[in-house]
């Protein structure tokens, strides 16, 4: 049984599960660190999944599909930011509206464009390629472990590192943190808080866009209505579990991938008494527990400071 759990093919399922979550959680993190709670990722990803497979089927190019997905996702993120900034609408309500809109509008477009209310399966899709590093070919374990994963997975890892550097080393990262901690103070020292708001939403839209494109043209070659199925909310969990830090989010998304993979494995086992849903539940329960832990730590820190 343990052999089955820890085989290399299971590991690649794990990485496939965690990739989109890692990306959209990173996006969510940018908004979170800038002080806005974004829960529109679900909608951005759904729009992107739809746009990228449509463009991909038309042009037979995964690059164009990916770009189209990112573009539409950024567009809705900008719309979100615009409503929040210009019309002072509440970010949660707008995010919620965008999620509903994405679900309804993609179903509507499925019907209007492809005459189907459930799914769209194009004849041919140019899938997002996988990456094989030639110099690892000869190394026995690493070959199986690291080769053959989607380009998007590696992109996600690189972006995690980039995000880490952004927050640790660059002025832009510092400005985001400053706006997030105290917007008025940041403004008084000349930081353009509107630019920070819009730019973090654009980053969130771009990252969610990649995740959405991975869904319909990387992991699968099909668009199904509501195919994101709550992954945007999982990325909120992952973001909080990682305490809003890139490296923390990387590990949190690994943990999500592990629990998801484990629950998929459990479903295939005969005579399993623990329902797979209980295992799928683990990341959510852990998130609540970790939120409590972070809050306790924060309280103690404040007490010590005062």
């Amino acid at each position: 049984m343990f052999r089955q759990f820890f085989s290399i093919s299971v590991f690649s399922v794990l990485l496939r599960q965690m990739t989109p979550v890692l990306l959209s959680a990173l996006g969510c993190m940018f908004c979170y660190r800038a002080g806005t709670f974004n829960m529109g990722m679900e909608g951005y990803m759904l729009f992107s999944a739809f746009a990228s497979i449509s463009v991909n089927a038309l042009t037979q190019s995964w690059v164009l599909g990916l770009l189209a997905g990112m573009a539409i996702s950024i567009l809705f993120a900008l719309l979100h930011a615009f409503f929040v900034h210009k019309y002072k609408a509440h970010t949660i309500i707008v995010g919620f509206a965008i999620n509903t809109l994405a679900s309804a509008l993609t179903i509507f477009l499925l019907q209007a464009l492809y005459g189907s209310s459930g799914s769209y399966i194009p004849d041919t899709v140019d899938p997002i390629p996988t990456l094989t590093l030639p110099f690892l070919k000869s190394v026995p374990v690493l070959d199986g472990l690291l080769n053959g994963h989607s380009v998007v997975f590696w992109l996600a890892i690189l972006l995690t590192i980039a995000a880490h550097i952004t927050f640790k080393k660059t002025p832009y990262g510092m400005h985001i943190i400053a706006v997030g901690e105290n917007c008025q103070a940041a403004r008084s020292v000349g930081i353009n808080d509107a630019a920070i708001l819009y730019s973090t939403f654009v980053i969130c839209g771009a990252l969610s866009g990649i995740a959405g494109a991975f869904f319909s043209t990387g992991a699968t070659k099909i668009f199904v209505r509501d195919m994101i199925a709550g992954l945007g909310f999982i990325s909120i969990a992952v973001m909080n579990l990682g305490n809003g830090k890139p490296i923390g989010i990387l590990f949190a998304s690994l943990l999500y991938g592990a629990s998801k993979t484990l629950s998929l494995q459990v479903q295939t086992l005969p005579n399993m008494t623990v329902p797979s849903q209980f295992i799928e539940m683990i990341p959510y329960v852990l998130t609540v527990i970790m939120l409590i832990v972070y809050a306790l730590v924060e309280m103690r820190r404040k007490k010590a400071a005062s």
Binding site: F37, Y87, K88, F96, A97, G230, M281, L291, I292, A295
Partner: protein
């Protein structure tokens, strides 16, 4: 010429008395989104008039459909009232879905596994279990918010998934209907526990009466009682309320407890009034619908009744439209979204304000 202008401004003044800016902008949003909806029907449908007739007229054609409107409106009203409680107090409860399921599940368990009691007592215990279940589940988020200052939005979202998965897991194994049916559900509940129609002449489920009573009770609590005033004061200006000596933590617990209790009750009403059994994920996305009802009604529990009935009507129409034409019933969701986008921005209210101001300035000049 001058006369018509003053006449118009007089009508405007009367209208202003009846509708305030908010109500006017809500009405505008509803009409506008319905027009967009009809436009979309014309784009995608081969038989648009039939679709529009199905959507708007046929819900009133038969008594079955009319009763359908009310039974669809019942959970919308209850969850809308639940959302209004937390909105009025200045908090976001995104967990109505989880509280709804927990309440429904607790009620179902009480209905199945509590036996040997007189029927009236059994029914009372079923509702009590549902209310307590929803309330306790919401209080997890409330307590964490009050004493640890955790983000209630994130916690309630997580609790939704925990509830859904927990119940799905229990239903898939231990608590499944032992008669060997393939569906993932509990056994059917005893007929005597279910909510019946009001009377033979009025074939509308009694659930709507519960919803109306709850809406009225919450209205009186929020707007006519001292405790409700405290809740709303905290929602309006928390710092001011704190300086005024209001115990903020208590208001958090009250608002989450009450919201959860109503959501739990709504779950039980749905089980006893519509389904008669708990099957997995029997009302997905209903929690979000509740938020929309509340937004649409400006967080007023009495107005939630109107928005709930309106969307019950729209959902019934969308369902008929799905049967009669090729358009799916997700269409109602599209109209919902357009409305909420319009309302959530203060764009419209601001627009109306500006128009009025411009007019007043012109008249002065």
């Amino acid at each position: 010429m001058k006369k018509t202008v003053s006449m118009r401004s007089k009508i405007w003044a009367v209208l202003k008395k009846v509708f305030n800016d908010d109500l006017l902008s809500v009405l505008f949003a509803v009409v506008f989104s319905l027009i967009i909806g009809c436009g979309l029907i014309f784009i995608i449908s081969d038989e648009p008039w039939r679709a529009i007739e199905s959507l708007f007229v046929l819900p009133f054609k038969t008594s079955y459909q009319v009763s359908n409107i009310f039974s669809k409106a019942t959970p919308l009203i209850l969850l809308g009232v639940s959302a209004s409680v937390t909105f009025q107090s200045g908090y976001f409860n995104m967990g109505a879905q989880g509280q709804f399921y927990v309440g429904a599940f607790a009620g179902t368990m009480a209905a199945i596994y509590v036996t040997g009691l007189p029927v009236w007592l059994h029914i009372a215990i079923v509702y009590l279990a549902a209310v307590a279940g929803g309330m306790l589940y919401a209080l997890i988020a409330g307590v964490l918010r009050a004493y640890l200052n955790t983000n209630e939005v994130v916690v309630t979202l997580m609790l939704n998934y925990i509830a859904t998965n927990l119940i799905a897991g229990l239903l898939s194994g231990w608590l499944r209907d032992p008669s060997g049916s393939t569906a993932v559900r509990t056994q059917y509940l005893d007929e005597s526990l279910l909510l019946s129609d009001i009377s033979a002449a009025i074939p509308i489920n009694k659930g709507i009466l519960i919803a109306l009573a709850v809406a009225a009770a919450v209205y009186f609590f929020m707007f006519k009682s001292k405790s409700g005033y405290r809740q709303r004061l905290v929602g309006k200006n928390m710092l001011f309320a704190r300086y005024g000596g209001i115990n903020i933590n208590r208001t958090i617990l009250i608002s989450f407890g009450l919201a959860g209790a109503i959501a739990g009750l709504s779950g039980a009403v749905e089980i006893l009034g519509v389904h008669g059994t708990y099957f997995n994920d029997f009302a997905s996305a209903i929690g979000g619908d509740g938020l929309i009802m509340s937004l649409l009604a400006g967080f007023n529990p009495l107005l939630v009744v109107i928005s709930g009935l309106f969307f019950g009507y729209l959902k019934t129409g969308a369902q008929i439209m799905q049967q009669n034409t090729a358009i799916t019933r997700d269409f109602a969701a599209l109209i919902q979204t357009i409305i909420i986008m319009l309302i959530s921005s203060r764009m419209l209210a601001a627009y109306f304000n500006k128009r009025r101001l411009n007019k007043e300035v012109k008249e002065l000049v």
